[in-house]
Symmetry: C2
Subunit: 155 residues, 2 copies
């Protein structure tokens, strides 16, 4: 199974970027995983929300194709880590070729993107900054793969 993670714009915080790369490296030892940073809407005021989301949706859509799409969404389903690992394991067992995680920018995701998702996932009731969300997602993917591969994961 291939894992694709797609989000708009590069991570700006250098520590978060370094953590992100460290998790990606660990994940890739267990499953093929690719990170794609798509076009980010820049230089628009926050009140132009619809326009920002539409620009970002344009970039994200190009990478959604026929994959199994999981969008991160605050009103999505919450799962325990074990359930999440089981969920990914099941997709793999059902010969899903690529699972694509879509993570929104600082304003989230356009409705059109959410509607195309096969699954809406929430990492927490709490709202995390969009850059912290990236790290939490990567850590959960790594944790799930170690559970799937029955490896010891350093707590």
């Amino acid at each position: 199974m291939r894992i694709k993670i797609v989000w708009p714009g590069k991570t700006r915080d250098q520590n978060i970027m370094d953590l992100q790369n460290a998790y990606l490296e660990k994940i890739n030892k267990l499953e093929r995983c690719e990170l794609i940073e798509t076009k980010e809407a820049r230089g628009l005021a926050e009140r132009m929300e619809k326009k920002i989301l539409a620009i970002e949706a344009n970039g994200l859509e190009k990478h959604m194709k026929d994959d199994y799409i999981i969008c991160l969404f605050d009103k999505g389903k919450e799962m325990h880590s074990e359930e999440f690992a089981h969920f990914l394991q099941e997709k793999k067992a059902n010969s899903v070729h690529t699972i694509t995680f879509i993570v929104g920018g600082f304003l989230g995701l356009a409705d059109g993107i959410l509607k195309r998702a096969h699954f809406l996932l929430s990492l927490s009731k709490m709202t995390f900054s969009h850059e912290l969300t990236r790290i939490v997602l990567l850590e959960q993917i790594y944790r799930s793969l170690t559970i799937m591969h029955r490896r010891q994961y350093a707590k």
Copy 2:
């Protein structure tokens, strides 16, 4: 109101440590916040769980005194960020002098510590590594204070 955060052992991951310090600096601009790293049980096999938790409980207890104690616990109560901000605001309004957050080490917290808590908080249904938990908690405290102080928080 004073905020104290107590956990056993120094953060080992340098990126997480740097993020942690960045959040602490931002929090301290809004409310007095102190981080205390207590004694960590080292060199014991994981199967010595009770012993490890007891050693760490010893260090944590010294900093619990008469404060309002919130322990992070995976079976604790989950809150939306707005609820969490409201909860902290209420403590402040009720003249709570110090709120102390206790975060467990890689094996969590001893029962004796959990029993002394006034509130058990869960950041997510998912299990985060104990070092990532530190960052998520700090981000949520910062987010809550910006909500309390009605400031704009960069998403």
